[in-house]
Symmetry: C2
Subunit: 339 residues, 2 copies
């Protein structure tokens, strides 16, 4: 099982043929190259008995193909991205590709470096969660025509394939649900960023509020992405005490989790004092004393479409696919009026 040394030459020597013939047979091209049945059979058997396994490095060098793809996320230890990674990895494996995973920590320099590093390692394509400020880098990737699929986040004016949530719909769903429960003074906690998916989520909320004639009750607070807790604390305090908000939507899982820590420490009761909606369910939401309503992303679909799109693009240079997949609202006690 563990030899790793037997090459095509060794087989050739033993069977008494040329390495070329062995290669042909082992690649199923015996007929095409009119190899005698007898000889072909002996080659196959010898290969098996010697536990031959092709040297993929050599294969790659010759073919120029590495069967490698890169997955660049912000942090693989973030459960959202590790769930994505798991699915991408499984699907890639089925398609005979290997995934190289890296984390950027939302940092542009890191992202640039990782794109270079992965490119250097010979990946044939990239699935990428672009960080704030990476537009030029992504534009460059687009112009270089390197197979790239954006995941979770996208740029509306860069014509690259992408696999994302329908972010507008997500907050629309959340806001409508809160309105339906009779909440009016609904606040939103967002990141302080130009990233389009966040802007879309904000729009979904703002438009829905406006359409309900509650434009005056719109409160959007933006907090620092790398160290959100202090900002969240301050925002919540103001929203609750000064603005008398009766509900709050957190735009990401990280924001919601930090928000719950704050609300607990502030001794604010959910949903009695304020209703809460989060993003991306997890055990913490479900086990909370008042289980948290959340927007559920179709993670499996997002991941699968990303890798499938990438592979199609690698194989067919003009393939493109821009997906905005539908969210679902998982309603729990944290957003119900008379729970």
């Amino acid at each position: 099982m563990m030899d790793k040394k037997v090459s095509i030459k060794d087989i050739a020597k033993i069977v008494g043929v040329s390495p070329a013939l062995v290669s042909m047979v082992l690649n199923g091209k015996a007929e095409q190259y009119r190899i005698g049945e007898e000889v072909a059979k002996r080659v196959v058997e010898t290969a098996k008995s010697m536990h031959y396994a092709p040297n993929l490095i050599a294969k790659n060098l010759r073919s120029g193909k590495t069967q490698l793809v890169g997955l660049i996320v912000t942090d693989i230890s973030n459960p959202f991205y590790s769930a994505i990674a798991r699915i991408v990895e499984d699907r890639a494996s089925e398609l005979n590709y290997t995934v190289l995973i890296s984390s950027t920590d939302e940092n542009l320099k890191n992202t640039e470096r990782l794109v270079d590093v992965l490119h250097n390692k010979g990946v044939e394509g990239l699935i990428l969660v672009p960080c704030d400020g990476s537009k030029e880098l992504i534009q460059g990737l687009y112009e270089s025509d390197f197979p790239t699929v954006l995941l979770d986040r996208y740029f509306p004016d860069i014509d690259l394939s992408s696999s994302c949530l329908d972010n507008y719909k997500a907050t629309e769903l959340a806001t409508e649900h809160l309105l339906g429960q009779g909440y009016k003074n609904i606040a939103l906690i967002a990141y302080n960023t130009e990233m389009q998916h966040i802007l879309d989520r904000i729009s979904g909320y703002e438009e829905t509020m406006k359409n309900a004639g509650l434009g005056a009750y719109t409160h959007v607070r933006k907090v620092d992405i790398l160290n959100p807790k202090p900002d969240i604390w301050k925002a919540l305090e103001e929203l609750i005490n000064k603005e008398h908000a009766d509900a709050v939507i957190f735009l990401t899982n990280m924001l919601a989790t930090n928000g719950l820590y704050c609300l607990n420490e502030m001794n604010v009761k959910i949903p009695e004092d304020i209703a809460v909606i989060g993003f991306n369910g997890n055990d913490a939401f479900n086990l909370f004393y008042s289980p948290i309503t959340y927007v559920k992303q179709p993670i499996e679909q997002i991941a699968k479409e990303a890798i499938d799109t990438l592979i199609k693009r690698i194989k067919k240079s003009n393939y493109k696919s821009k997906l905005f997949l539908g969210p679902e609202l998982v309603i729990q006690k944290s957003s119900l009026r008379d729970a």
Copy 2:
């Protein structure tokens, strides 16, 4: 940035020297091979201006080294392992290695297949979380002398490097803490498995109980590893209603999380009705209405030692290191008598 076509030959042609010379210079061996300073400088400059990046595939083929290592965990979407993966990945990157990650789902056949697949992809070593029943496979790995480091789990009679928690100490800490709080009828929820790390955790608890003269109050329940919830429910019901347990230790994060779901559904109050200790902290524990005391593993250290040990072993064939790293008890409300 995105060219990928310029080779050592191209540089050689432009500078007007041989490819060999270019290789020597670019590998910092100019002095060693007595290359003229003038020429060397021109080579370096030309390489830079052409954005030369070495073809790693070719390099690997030539050197027989792939700079690849495998990381086989049970599930990369499990936060414990994704945290490990993040650290391994970062450290490996520093050491100029690339990590290939796979998930076994606690399944032996998968594990065997993945070991083969990764081996085939040319990894120079493996970090591996062995699943139940994998002893023969691991023994085979040991005998083949393939660089392997076991992570999180180990086999006492296989002389392989490993980086694990001090499991006995972990439950000893937990049990002593509960005893110190005056709890006597302490139960344990474990997996139904032969895996040594679980057996060690059970021993830590049993011995501590025995030493306290409470051998008679020892309750160990073993549940199915793949679908634990029904077993946990039944065990908890019995422990609480029939055995009048006043505390319960869950041996893993998955067990604790499932246990909390059960206790919530059963309307059992923590710690009033029963005290709880879990394994591996997370937001769900901290945000719980009564924050959960847990055994904290030194994840960073475990991961870092695993990859460092592997790389040392790859470079030095007789290197070996068996680590059992110290746990820490994070005490929260769920295990305090008079909270």
